[in-house]
């Protein structure tokens, strides 16, 4: 019984810590998301996005994914991807970036709660995502038959 109570206590403690992260994070996002700063930030990273073979149309789904995560941002990603008729190459490049690097705030913080180093996790993930996407964009040049190139 004592063992079970200790386990329950640990589980509740972890739940409390998760509450302390998730609730303020989601609230802050909801309050800030309408600020024009976000649109301006989009312009600032334009050159970096071009380096990864992505153009402006990909910015909203990309940033939604980076901050909110694929599962949560799915609606926006699917809608924008279809509305803007993103070409297959851009969709895959964006997918590769987001597959390695999404929901970065939440993912990082929940491991920081346990005592991990957030800067290393965040930095390495960003570097890998930017690097790999840029490399693939170089290898897979735009417009030729989309599918056959990367099997």
């Amino acid at each position: 019984m004592e063992i079970f109570l200790a386990a329950l206590w640990g589980a509740l403690l972890l739940s409390g810590k998760l509450l302390l992260i998730v609730v303020p994070l989601v609230t802050l996002f909801e309050v800030l998301r309408y600020l024009p700063v976000f649109r301006r930030a989009g312009r600032a990273v334009d050159p970096l996005m071009r380096g990864m073979g992505l153009d402006r149309d990909a910015a909203v789904p990309l940033f939604t994914g980076i901050f909110l995560g694929i599962a949560y941002g799915a609606g926006i990603i699917i809608r924008v991807a279809q509305e803007k008729k993103l070409p297959r190459r851009q969709l895959f490049l964006m997918g590769l970036f987001l597959a390695t690097c999404h929901a970065v705030v939440e993912d990082t913080l929940i491991f920081v709660v346990l005592g991990a180093n957030g800067w290393i996790m965040l930095g390495v993930r960003l570097l890998i995502a930017v690097g790999l996407t840029a490399i693939l964009a170089r290898i897979w040049q735009s417009s030729p038959p989309a599918d056959s190139q990367i099997q």
Binding site: A7, T100, L114
Partner: protein
Amino acid sequence: MESSAPAIPERLRTGLFSGLQTSWKLIRFVVPIYIAVDLLKHTPVIDVLGGWFSPLMRLFGLPGEAAFAFIAAFLLNLYAALAVLAPLDLTPWQLTQCGLMMGIAHNLLLEGAVLGSTGTRGGLLSGCRLAIAGGAGLLLEAAHRLGGF
């Protein structure tokens, strides 16, 4: 993200509500997983199964038990992985390693399907994620051994 922005108090309410809703969804399965793993620690199960995985996990500088967290991360999500990791008493560096690798590759079934529904190849991307997570893990372990941080 469109122009018609609701007033601040309403946004606060929306945020708090959806934050609590998300938390509840997570906590609902973090609690049972954490308790199960913490109780299993008092039995030989974790040691025995962890032993099978330890040669693989050692490549990344991690103990064999960490394999359970990876399975939870790949199939479920990071919260499940966290609930497995929390009772295992890893070092801060080992947790960083887990966070990096699992941050790259997690929730592969669901997220692969989501990425696929945008019109790209979800399965291929999930494979890439596993490979990238492995590569990143080997690199960080190498940096850890050489640089000693």
